[in-house]
Amino acid sequence: MRWFLLIAFAISPSVLAEDLLPEQYRASGQDALYGQALFSLHSGEYQKALGLNQALQKRRHKNTPLLKIQQATAQLGLGMSQQAKKHYKKLLTAKSSKLISHGTRAQAWFYLAKHFYNKGMWSTALQAIHQVKGGHLNPQLKDEFHFIAATLELFQGKAKQADKHILAISPQSMWAAYAFLNLAVSYTERDVHINQVDAVFEKAKMLTKYTQHPESLEDKINLMAGQFFFATGRGRSAIKHLKEVSLDGAFTSKALLTYGWALTEQWQYHDALQPWYMLKTNHSPLNQDVQETLIAIPHLLEKLNAKVMALGAFDYAGEQYEMIYKQLEESAKRLNTGEFIEPLLAQQIPDKWGAFAAIDLSLPNHPDRIYLKDVMSKSYFQGELKNLRDLHVMRSQLNSGIEQLAAFEKVQITRRDEYQQVKNDKRINLTSRQLLKLNKRYKTLRATVDKAFKNPSGVGLASEFEKNQLASFKQLNTDFKALDENGHYLQRLRRVEGVLKWALSQRYYERKKEVSKNLAILDGKIKQTRRQLKAAKLAFRSTPKSFNGFDKKVARLRTKYQQQLKRLDIVYQKQREKVGGIVKLDIKKRQKVVMDYQLQARLAAARLFDETSNKHRVVAGAEVRQ
């Protein structure tokens, strides 16, 4: 059964949460919130999508079932499988919902099954896959559907149902190779005849050409076949398959180890040494296959009767095991002090989280990276690490939220100060006073102007001298009337008076033009001041109290954030312990294996030492006797 797990984890192509969504477009052209929620969801920003979805649901949007599907999809994207599962089940089983067509329903069940399959929740995945109606499924997904269904059925031990699905897969599909590999593995567990098992392995190998990484898959099939044949005592068949595994792949070390054992089983001891030496020289002692080789080599040397060499090799193995054990001990310590988990979390992308955000598992120059790679390749560990990473990201989000709230508080204070400044501004008083002065000046000027320009003859503009002259003319006129009978002086007087009046009338128009211009300027000033006053009054009246009400909201949110942070810290610690526990357990298992090997090596060394010493004693005794 453990082989099945290997296959299942090896082929977990990425499924995005939005693949589960039906092809639904926004109903209202200008529903910004809904449109944005859709955009976020389809572009993989699940957190934003879920937040907007919650806001939409608060607004009691009409398309509630659709919103629920989108909510569940975003939840799935954020790794909230339990909550998503609840929503999906409720929605997809509700047959009355016209929103979901048969095709969409089938597709949604399929992707849901695939999601749970990838997460290792096989019974839930099987329940979901049983809901898929193959007839309604997109033809492009059919092969994959049959593959997942077959694998899940095999997990449950239902071989017949699995066979049906395997036979339904198109041979040109990439899933065919994986399916036949699964079939071969299931045959090995079902006591099927060896020739049939070999045929299925061969078929799987043939079909690898349709997969994305044919070489790697072929190596894997050869290794699995080799291990199977070796385990069933068919060394030659095992050798045939193991020889085909490439020397620079992921399965090289295991293949070399098994190849050596298969040759040993065939009494080809000399030949068996070669792959083991190759394995020992090219790989780190922390590799478990190398650890096995360390004890296997002296065992083989002993079989070759090279007892002294074997003794040396056993001693060397014992020393190596001691060193490996110490290294593992140090790793466990590093785990306790957080030297392993914290750097791993620190190298993750800070704002990426959720089920589909991959974890950066590279451990550059980390002393534990060789065996941690093995632990990390396990899907269960990755799932738990993802949860821890999500908590880590959430913690930094909460912290940045608290910082943002502090910044909001500053904005609020600035706004309040601005408001107070406007309210305390003396501009209105100053402008009002200036306007009053200008108006007064205008009025006085107007009165003077009106008086001066009352008579268009320009008399109003005459100077004091001219006024006296005009008065003299009047007096002289009366006097001349009495004295001059011919009117000769009177005519001359009128001429002089006419010249003065003409000069006055000429000046009147020029002065009037000038005065009008000056009055217009003054009028403009008054209008401008009036506008300023109006604007200042408006600003005073309408200064936004945009800081009002926010202090309470900010304070309330801050309290919520701080509480959440405390709660998160508790959960984070628990999750960290859980993740650490997985690695610790793995380290313990490795230590136990190393200790077993060491014990075996020491016992064998002691035995060999005894034997070789006896031999020396026997030889020495014989010499004495001679």
Binding site: Q24, A32, G35, Q82, F408, Q412, L568
Partner: protein
């Protein structure tokens, strides 16, 4: 008596083992559930913070936002949009294939949000993209609009001109 005592001890040991196993499993399930609850709460909190931010930084009297939408256009994929407001560059955005698909599936993207004073303004959108044959396409759309003392929303709409079999670009005002 000794036998009874030992059997009771054995039963108790078995019971405690079973109980501890059950408790451990329950603990694991509880932890998963608490993580999910935490996630849900953090999402709600962040949404609340986001709403507060929008209310505080972009008051209704000055708020101005530009959205992008693309309806039923299969033979054009937008690759970038650059916005210029009153002859000043305000934002530019590069689209991933996933985001283009999101627009195609009815999503609306809020490409820009800011504050704008009342009066007459000019928005220029430079749209870059590729058609199905891989040919680059560049279009510029301009909109003159007035802003009063209330929110103003504009939408850059990419639609399909079925008659001429080419994409159409326009800036529309939301009423």
């Amino acid at each position: 008596m000794k036998a009874i005592h030992s059997s009771i001890t054995a039963v108790l040991c078995l019971f405690s083992l079973l109980a501890s196993g059950y408790l451990m499993a329950a603990d694991q399930a509880d932890l998963d559930a608490s993580i999910e609850t935490l996630k849900s709460e953090v999402v709600s909190l962040n949404q609340e913070l986001f709403e507060l931010e929008e209310q505080l930084l972009y008051p209704a009297t000055t708020e101005f936002a530009v959205f992008v939408s693309m309806a039923a256009v299969d033979d054009f994929a937008v690759s970038a949009i650059k916005l210029t407001l009153d002859d000043q560059d305000v934002t530019s955005y590069l689209y991933s294939a996933q985001q283009v698909e999101a627009l195609r599936r009815g999503g609306i993207q809020k490409i820009y949000i800011g504050n704008l004073k009342p009066g007459l303004h000019k928005l220029t959108a430079e749209i870059l993209g590729k058609d199905t044959d891989g040919r680059s396409l560049k279009r510029t759309v301009v909109a003159d609009f007035g802003k009063a003392r209330s929110s103003k929303y504009l939408e850059i709409k990419i639609t399909n001109n079925e008659k001429q079999n080419r994409p159409d670009f326009a800036i529309v005002e939301w009423k």
